[in-house]
């Protein structure tokens, strides 16, 4: 009971902090921009900047929520507390698929729409990510659940391999195709793919709901595969649905905001430290709030101080150090 009160208070504090972060972000964008340029801030311009900032915040929220939820679910089904889908190279699959699609589109008339039609493109990319994540799980993850170092190494090699493959395809493209590709793959937090935000937001809500609905089942899965099965969790079935949902969510956030390697790791582990519970119903919400706070507050501060580097670089820096600490602690190398 005492703990429940603490958790509720923590949710409250995090929400307040997020509101503060949003205010800072708006302030930095609207006031900061006009001070910078020395132009008078008319209501018209302010409105324009504000609506654009609101879109950015929505985009950050969607990505942060998806990454947080997916990372927690992934860590539970693979029985580890370090790896997240982005860390074993899920987003590099996105890049590779895009480059192949551009390449094909220019070679065969049939495949022209595969790249240019955003829906078709999204379907193919997500499908590709699903297939790869299934294969990866079947062949590697399942048998090496407790061998974090091996899995990290595997992820490093896989994403390196896929990246070189992407580079190779890029060399084959002509300059115009290359421009097309870069327009899709060079999205970052400051250069979001705003076209899909309104589509992604409701999908995010559905996905978060689907994950959270199974919170109690994830709790049971923490007990280990055999115990979960013994307690009647249809484990294999759940694994497959999970991998599909995870691939879908990863495809959305990568298309929206680009790769965010360490955000999930940070959000999920900080949520665990803060809430000191194993209950997924709490951890899901907690890590979503923390991920949103990180992105929005971080980006707000970065814009306020007029740094050229986006906050994702900082998150990766902090997240990388944190990951090394976690590995040293858990594996006692």
């Amino acid at each position: 009971m005492e703990n429940n009160k603490r958790i509720r208070r923590m949710f409250f504090v995090l929400s307040i902090l997020i509101i503060v972060a949003v205010i800072i972000y708006f302030y930095a964008r609207v006031i900061g921009k006009s001070l910078d340029s020395g132009l008078p801030l008319t209501a018209d311009i302010a409105k324009k900047i504000a609506s654009r900032s609101a879109m950015s915040i929505l985009g950050m929220t969607v990505s942060a929520a998806l990454i947080a939820v997916v990372s927690l679910a992934f860590q539970t089904i693979t029985e580890n507390r370090i790896l997240t889908p982005s860390m074993i190279g899920f987003d590099s699959v996105f890049m590779a698929t895009q480059s192949v699609l551009v390449f094909l589109a220019s070679r065969w008339a049939v495949s022209k729409h595969l790249f240019s039609n955003p829906y078709l493109n999204f379907l193919i990319t997500t499908g590709m990510m699903m297939v790869i994540s299934m294969l990866m799980y079947r062949i590697i993850l399942r048998k090496n659940k407790n061998n974090i170092v091996f899995l990290l190494l595997f992820g490093l090699i896989l994403s390196g391999m896929i990246r070189s493959f992407t580079n190779y395809i890029e060399v084959l493209l002509n300059p115009q195709e290359f421009q097309q590709l870069k327009a899709v793959t060079s999205v970052t937090i400051t250069n979001m793919n705003t076209g899909i935000i309104l589509l992604a937001a409701p999908v995010m809500l559905v996905l978060v709901f689907l994950f959270m609905r199974k919170s109690r089942e994830y709790d049971v899965m923490l007990l280990s595969e055999s115990n979960a099965k013994s307690l009647g969790v249809p484990y294999t079935k759940r694994l497959n649905t999970n991998l599909i949902l995870i691939a879908l969510a990863m495809a959305i956030t990568t298309a929206l905001i680009g790769p965010l390697t360490f955000l999930g790791l940070l959000a999920v582990n900080i949520a665990r430290e803060l809430f000191r519970t194993y209950k997924h119903s709490v951890l899901f919400i907690g890590s979503i709030l923390i991920a949103i706070l990180f992105l929005v507050l971080g980006q707000g501060i970065v814009e306020l101080l007029r740094y050229a580097t986006p906050v994702t670089v900082l998150i990766d820096l902090v997240g990388g150090v944190y990951m090394i600490c976690l590995i040293l602690k858990e594996n006692k190398l």
């Binding site: 580890n80 109690r216 923490l222 115990n227 307690l231 009647g232 194993y278």
Partner: protein
């Protein structure tokens, strides 16, 4: 075995075969598990005991054959329904979470409540905790407990699950002698007082001899011999099962296996008999 409605109530293993890659682990195993008894699966390493247990509890899908649970094919049952009848506990694993004894035991109600605990569930949880003498430590975290206490907490979880069948995979591993004896005494109590059916994979044949009703001896993926414990604990049977010389002694009227070869070959093995 038939219950009062005339339905079959038992576990029947039919022609089960299992292979990992090219290694055949189980070869057409047939077994009927008797109700309200402790059945011990014994055999050398790699004889297929754990695999058979996993297949019977639906943790592992066999390559061929069927498992009938109360007359129904286990493959056609919902996992949740199986979980209301069979509970299996594998060797204590490393837990990736910080959880109190009480919360762990509560997980046992998952097949019945799907995590939303009702009054009836709370009552079963309380009973299980009391039955396993965990009342004083119910708010402690699992990682603070000794090996024996931890094992008892897991058994309490299985009791809360309230299944007729309890499968245990080497529950005595990592337990010292005192806790091992305590564990087996508890299992005997479960059979006697709560009418549970316990199937247990064991390494120590002396524990099997002392506490099991029936013993199933396995070798090379097949059942070599099955029967009442007193009949299986026999020099010729065990020598064949384990490929090792045995000497059966009688201590306090119980059969005890001595498996150390005598240093002096001429010494008679039965010298310590009574």
């Amino acid at each position: 075995m038939l219950n009062f409605k005339g339905e079959q109530t038992m576990i029947e293993i039919k022609n089960i075969s299992q292979a990992y890659g090219n290694t055949q682990v189980l070869r057409e195993v047939n077994l009927i598990i008797k109700e309200k008894r402790i059945t011990a699966l014994i055999g050398a390493n790699g004889a297929g005991k754990s695999t058979l247990l996993n297949v019977a509890a639906n943790l592992l899908e066999p390559c061929a054959g069927t498992v009938l649970l109360d007359g129904k094919d286990i493959k056609e049952m919902k996992s949740q329904d199986i979980a209301k009848r069979i509970a299996i506990l594998k060797q204590t694993q490393h837990l990736n979470m910080r959880i109190s004894v009480r919360d762990l035991v509560s997980f046992g109600r998952y097949p019945h409540s799907q995590g939303r605990l009702k009054d009836e569930d709370e009552q079963k949880i309380r009973q299980a905790i009391e039955y396993m003498n965990l009342k004083e430590i119910e708010n402690k975290f699992i990682d603070e407990l000794s090996g024996g206490q931890r094992q008892r907490a897991y058994i309490a979880m299985i009791l809360a699950q309230d299944t007729k069948y309890i499968f245990l995979d080497e529950p005595l591993n990592n337990l010292d002698i005192k806790y091992s004896v305590e564990m087996m005494t508890i299992l005997r109590k479960l059979v006697k007082e709560l009418s549970k059916t316990v199937i247990i994979v064991m390494h120590d044949i002396n524990f099997a001899a002392a506490y099991a009703d029936d013993i199933v001896a396995m070798k090379g993926g097949q059942i070599m011999k099955e029967g009442a414990a007193q009949d299986i604990i026999d020099q010729t049977v065990l020598t064949e099962v384990f490929d090792h010389e045995f000497c059966i002694a009688n201590v306090y009227g119980k059969k005890v296996c001595v498996y150390f070869p005598p240093e002096d070959k001429s010494a008679k093995g039965d010298a310590i008999n009574e």
